[in-house]
Every structure is written in structure tokens, then in C-alpha cells.
């Protein structure tokens, strides 16, 4: 089909009226409550101004008033589709400050839970991306599978979405006796559905036409904007904290970092960002399989801790690879049982800031897709 290039308009030669269009905060495809102020020339986007803060729930203010363990539920509610991954850097940071080594079994369960949640999050990302492109059915196929993953979480923690499962020094509860079989069954199902989605959506001609060569993000711009996760890897930068700066026990597993290669378009387009997510699901499956194999059956899931958790005075920045990118917590301790300050480096917050840069000159319909390919969760953008 037609050559789709970014359209540079030369306003010295043509004169045209431009229209300012308000997209959101209530709009079917702004992934929540993002508001975009878009300037359109016909159908071509000439300017995008994101307005955020419609979900500013002031988690950081709450964190100052809570004790360290009490902050964890608020962290769950930050990026509500990847709660397990959110909890991990926070508890790791406190554990590092306290100097605790968590039991071996806990490490494995944490990794498995994080990877399962990564799959669940990527499923939502790809599903809603398909929805933005007008394909409704893949959305439901992914959600069908996601329910099975949530069932595992529910068996372990009692909650479907916001778990409060990783505690400082361990876990809230031990996993179900049939945990290993359940997880392996899910891995099988995830692979099956991914195959199905690849046929139905990813390699669909219309879908490729819509997403290839759209919203190209060059690697140097991505790094300058501190993008991370699939957005950065989609631009061809091989950077994953699980490999580059292994935390927890990620150095024990064998897995690859998928990067965008521009198979159907240019490196760093929407399709690349999307395919990175699809391939990461496969890598997560690999990690889960290895972890299930190595995981010890016996063992305690909670370290003995003092009643009041009082980390030493000082500050720490801990980051981990969230499904959406690198999520960091900057925790300042003043020696009491309440943190002085907990600042979250929201992955989506940083990734979203690149949107005005990469969406100029494309069509309005492309803008929606570019936004979808960045995969933001407004809870984390606004915190």
C-alpha cells in the first residue's frame, strides 16, 4: 500500500487552517485518563501536548505517613497491571538497606510471579494495542488466558489484581501445593495463544500496514528520553536490567533479550515495539520453566524480622525491570519506621514523555497507535 512517511509540512508554501482537538481524558483509547491536546492539519498531527495528572493520587505523600510495610499496597496501586513487578524493587531496596538475605525458595517464587505478571501485562499491552487498531477479538483471547494467570496469583495471595504478596524479607504466604503444575499448564497455554494471535493479528496484512513505519523512535532519542523496556528495545537497543544489571536471581537463567529489528518496516516503529512484547512473553515462559525446575520444594517463605522495620539513615535507588521498562524507587530513610520520602520513577511517566517527539507528522489515527505502542498505565504516570 501507500508509502507512509512522516509528513513534513512547509507552511511557507501552503496556507491551511489548523484545528485543535481535545482527546481525552475520557476517550476510548487513551488507556485511562490521559488527555492529549492535538493540533491537526486536516488529518495530520502537527502538535501534541499531553496533559497528565488526572489520576494523581499522591502515593508519595501517603508513603511519608505510612510505615515501610504499609507502603506496599500503595505501590500495588501504582501500576495496577504489574503489581508483582512493582513490589519487587521496593522490597529489594528495603532488604538491601537492612542487609537481609531472603531464602532461596522466596527468590524463585518471586521470579516466577514476576515473570507471570510480565506475561499478563504484555497480554494487556498487545490486546489494547490491537483494540486501538480496531481488532477487538484478540483482546478477548488474551483476557481469556490472563484469567488463568490471575487464578495462580489468587491461589497464592488471595487477590486477583493488587496482591500485597511480596513482603520485606519474604512473602505474605507460601504458594499452593499444586503451584508447579499450574504454572507449567499456563506456560503451555500462553504459547498456544501467542501462536494464535500471531496468525490473527501480528502478521495480519492490515495490521502490518497500520503499524509498520509508524512512530519511529531512533535509539539515540530513546536513550536521551530515558525510555526503557520494550520502547527502548523496540528501537534496537539491547538493554535489559535482568541481563545488564542482574538483580534477585536472574543471573541463573538462560534467556535472550528480544530487540526490534525492523522486520516489516523501520527499526523502532510501532510494530517493533509490539513484537518485542510478544517475544518477551516467550522468554518469560523460558525463565519460568527453568525456575520451576530449579525451585526448592522445602523452605520457609519469611525471614525473621524485627517488629518495627527501621532501615538505617541514608538513601537508596533501586531499579528493576518492570514489563513496561525500568521501574526505580528512590527511598530516603531517616532512621525511623516511616520513610522520609519514597519517590517512584514511573516507567510509563518517562516513556510517555517521548510521545510528542515521535507523533508529529503522522495521521491522527497513527497517533492513537503510537500511544498504544508505548503502553502506558496512567496509575504509574500520575502516581
Amino acid at each position: 500500500m501507500g508509502e507512509k512517511k512522516r509528513i513534513e509540512l512547509d507552511y511557507s508554501k501552503i496556507e491551511s487552517d489548523r484545528m485543535r482537538l481535545n482527546v481525552g481524558p475520557q476517550h476510548p483509547s487513551t488507556h485511562g485518563v490521559l488527555r492529549l491536546e492535538v493540533e491537526l492539519d486536516g488529518e495530520i498531527v502537527t502538535e501534541v501536548v499531553p496533559h497528565i495528572g488526572y489520576l494523581h493520587r499522591c502515593f508519595e505523600k501517603h508513603a511519608e505517613k505510612m510505615t515501610y510495610p504499609q507502603v506496599i499496597p500503595y505501590i500495588d496501586r501504582m501500576d495496577y497491571v504489574t503489581s508483582m513487578n512493582n513490589e519487587l524493587p521496593y522490597v529489594m531496596a528495603i532488604e538491601k538497606m537492612l542487609g537481609i538475605e531472603v531464602p532461596e525458595k522466596v527468590q524463585y517464587i518471586r521470579v516466577i510471579m514476576c515473570e507471570l505478571n510480565r506475561i499478563a501485562s504484555h497480554q494487556i499491552a498487545v490486546a489494547t494495542f490491537g483494540l486501538d487498531a480496531g481488532a477487538f477479538t484478540p483482546f478477548l483471547y488474551f483476557f481469556r488466558d490472563r484469567e488463568y494467570i490471575l487464578a495462580i496469583f489468587e491461589k497464592a495471595s488471595g487477590a486477583r489484581l493488587l496482591f500485597n504478596y511480596f513482603w520485606i524479607g519474604g512473602l505474605a504466604a507460601d504458594v499452593h501445593p499444586t503451584f508447579k503444575e499450574d504454572v507449567l499448564a499456563i506456560v503451555k497455554q500462553v504459547r498456544k495463544t501467542n501462536k494464535e494471535i500471531e496468525d490473527l493479528l501480528i502478521y495480519n496484512k492490515i495490521f502490518i500496514e497500520r503499524t509498520a513505519n509508524v512512530g519511529i523512535l531512533p535509539p539515540d532519542v530513546a536513550i536521551n528520553y530515558a525510555c526503557s523496556g520494550p520502547v527502548l528495545r523496540g528501537s534496537g537497543v539491547k538493554f535489559d536490567l535482568r541481563k545488564n544489571e542482574p538483580y534477585s536471581i536472574y543471573d541463573r537463567f538462560d534467556f535472550d533479550i528480544p530487540v526490534g529489528m525492523g522486520e516489516v518496516g523501520t527499526v523502532g516503529d510501532c510494530w517493533d515495539r509490539n513484537i518485542v512484547r510478544m517475544r518477551e512473553m516467550e522468554q518469560s515462559c523460558r525463565i519460568i520453566e527453568q525456575a520451576i525446575e530449579q525451585m526448592p520444594n522445602e523452605g520457609d517463605v519469611q525471614e525473621k524480622l524485627p517488629k518495627k522495620i527501621k532501615p538505617p539513615k541514608g538513601d537508596i535507588y533501586m531499579r528493576a525491570e518492570n514489563p513496561k521498562g525500568d521501574l526505580g524507587f528512590y527511598i530516603v530513610s531517616n532512621g525511623t519506621d516511616k520513610p522520609e520520602r519514597v519517590k517512584a520513577r514511573g516507567t510509563s511517566f518517562v516513556n510517555l514523555s517521548v510521545l510528542p517527539e515521535i507523533s508529529k507528522g503522522y495521521m491522527f489515527a497513527d497517533l492513537i497507535l503510537i500511544l498504544g505502542s508505548i503502553d502506558i498505565v496512567l496509575g504509574e504516570v500520575d502516581r
Binding site: 481524558p25 475520557q26 476517550h27 476510548p28 485511562g32 485518563v33 495528572g53 488526572y54 489520576l55 494523581h56 493520587r57 499522591c58 505523600k61 501517603h62 505517613k65 499496597p73 500503595y74 496501586r77 495496577y80 497491571v81 494487556i124 483482546f139 478477548l140 483476557f143 481469556r144 490472563r146 484469567e147 490471575l150 486477583r160 489484581l161 493488587l162 496512567l378 496509575g379 500520575d382
Partner: protein, 178 residues
């Protein structure tokens, strides 16, 4: 349409016809609720799960509409911030009568976990728009959403269209005597 206005005359007699007619009208409204999904936060993800194959919200005869003009009820799912509150009010005003509101999750009901220090959180969406059904939970399970939907349908079914005042009087009499 003008149909309702004409029938809404204060008839003294004709209870059976109007009563049956009322039932049919209420049945239609209760069984075909199109919703404006106002996804705000965590509950919106649960709501998406609710829409999906396992729970299938469309079983209740609901269809998602993107525009408030065509929606019958609004589903507030998530934390309402002060910045957002004015937009919600505006959307509510844009909806066509008869309209209903379901407030889902602790945040929309009362501020939820953010009630104490949340300087930017509206402590309950009922401070700006009327709420017909509250669904508790943080976030509620999809089953709770379904229960909320059934409650709303029940409420619509028992609504008075004709001779509202008389029905209200009767109801209060029953309440007072009980």
C-alpha cells in the same frame, strides 16, 4: 420522545393498562443498558476482565458506547481526582435521560485507601453526581460487578414512570408503618 410526556398525565383510572405498559417500558430499560465506561484506575482493569470471555458483561444486555449521548448508565471505576471531577460532572450532564450511575470500588465510593492523606482525591464520586449503585471492593471482583449490575436492573424494573408521586406516597406509608 414526546411519547412519555403525553402518557404522563395524571390519570385517575386506567391502572392496569398503565401498569402493564409501565412494566414493558421498565423491562426495556432494565434489559438494554448501554454503558459509558469511565475507566479511571485499577478497577478499570477488573472491568476489562469482566468484559472478557470469562465473565462476559454483555450477557446482561449491555453494550459499550464511547459517547455519553447514547449511554444509559455511567460506570465510574476508579479513583476520582479533583482534576477529573469536573469532567465527570460534565459527562454526566451530557448523558440523555433516563440515566444511572454505578460507582465501582472503594475509591469512587469514598476515597478508598486515599481518603486520609489524598489531597488531590475526591472522597466519593457521590459528592458531584448522584449514584444509584455502589459496588464495594478494592478492586471489586468481577462477580461483584455483576451483582451491581443485577441490582441496577432490579432498581430500574421497579421504577415508577406514571403517577410517581402516588407510588412514592405508598412506599413511604409502608416504610412508616413498618
Amino acid at each position: 420522545m414526546g411519547l412519555l410526556n403525553k402518557l404522563n398525565q395524571p390519570y385517575e383510572a386506567g391502572g392496569i393498562i398503565l401498569g402493564t405498559f409501565e412494566d414493558i417500558l421498565n423491562w426495556g430499560r432494565a434489559r438494554s443498558d448501554w454503558y459509558l465506561h469511565f475507566g479511571l484506575a485499577c478497577c478499570a482493569i477488573e472491568f476489562m476482565a469482566m468484559n472478557a470471555s470469562h465473565f462476559d458483561f454483555m450477557r446482561f444486555g449491555t453494550i459499550p458506547r464511547a459517547t455519553p449521548r447514547q449511554a444509559d448508565f455511567i460506570m465510574i471505576t476508579g479513583t476520582v481526582t479533583l482534576k477529573m471531577a469536573e469532567r465527570i460532572k460534565k459527562l454526566w450532564e451530557q448523558m440523555a435521560e433516563p440515566k444511572y450511575c454505578i460507582s465501582v470500588g472503594s475509591c469512587a465510593n469514598c476515597g478508598g485507601p486515599y481518603w486520609e492523606h489524598g489531597y488531590h482525591v475526591l472522597k466519593g464520586v457521590d459528592r458531584i453526581i448522584p449514584v444509584h449503585v455502589y459496588v464495594p471492593g478494592c478492586p471489586p471482583r468481577p462477580e461483584a460487578f455483576q451483582d451491581g449490575m443485577i441490582k441496577l436492573q432490579k432498581m430500574i424494573k421497579e421504577e415508577a414512570i406514571f403517577r410517581k408521586r402516588k407510588k412514592l406516597e405508598e412506599e413511604t406509608k409502608i416504610e412508616l408503618s413498618a
